[in-house]
Amino acid sequence: MTGNELDRAFGALSDPTRRAILARLAEGDAGVMDVAAPFPMSQPAITKHLNVLEEAGLISRHRQARQRLCHLEPVRLKQLSDWVGSYREFWEESFERLDELLEELQGTKETSTRNTTGGTT
């Protein structure tokens, strides 16, 4: 995922209406009318939001009979959660190492006070 795609995807997610649309589509494909129904805004306004989501790769649209259906693209969402997940991995591993270091430092300094570590000093 390039920085540009990431920007677009996060930009798209930074709006409550668009997040609500994604939540709606997570239940199944829907036409624009159905998507728009719960929101107090015009259909063109909803269409704009859908365009943003589509450009971000979070949804796709396809024709079925006479309707254009919106479809959630879970791959992009997975990529976004991977994005945070790997960052987490960076910190998880760092912090595990810091745990080890702190244990080592306390071991040498206070000759093992494992049961009552912490306290006031």
């Binding site: 930074s14 960076f90 910190w91 912090f95 306390q106």
Partner: protein, 163 residues
């Protein structure tokens, strides 16, 4: 290797240029503060094991600067630098943070070491100037992490993000 069940909380709110990290450590704030601030300690834990730290230096005073360079096994280097704005051991440290690859994107990090029962809660809040810069920061962490095995990622995602 020690195994811990201490969860790391990472929050990247959509639409806000902020990263929050919280983690408990089983050591008093005095020691934790030193371990996360002084270069000779920092170079022993900061970053995944496969990344070598080639430079880690800090002028530990307000207005002093720090610099850190990670090198991946393929030779790729990730260099970071910043300046200390507040140094109040053992509780609080505020400083700037930038990646050399995007020196204009300067983030401000506030690090607190709060004494809690049995140890210290470290709370870091990193504020970038734009959401894009924040996202790029996380993406850099991703690059560093991704070079390593990706095996545990899915487990982590399931365990940590099912909220």
């Amino acid at each position: 290797m020690t195994t811990t069940d201490t969860p790391t909380e990472i929050i990247t709110p959509p639409g806000e240029p902020v990263i929050h990290i919280r983690r408990f450590f089983k050591a008093p704030p005095e020691l934790v503060f030193r371990a996360i601030t002084e270069p000779e300690y920092l170079r022993r834990w900061y970053g995944p094991r496969h990344l070598e730290i080639t430079v880690c230096e800090a002028d530990l005073r307000v207005g002093g600067t720090w610099r850190l360079v990670h090198r991946a096994p393929d030779g790729t280097e990730f260099a970071f630098h910043g300046e200390f704005l507040e140094l109040e051991p053992p509780r609080k440290r505020v400083g700037t943070w930038s990646w050399d690859g995007a020196p204009d994107a300067v983030a401000t990090e506030t690090m607190l070491c709060e004494p809690v029962e049995g140890g210290t809660m470290v709370v870091s809040t990193m504020v970038h100037n734009t959401v894009e810069a924040r996202d790029m920061h996380v993406a850099n962490g991703m690059e560093a992490g991704i070079i390593d095995s990706h095996g545990r990622l899915d487990e982590l995602l399931v365990a940590e993000q099912a909220t």
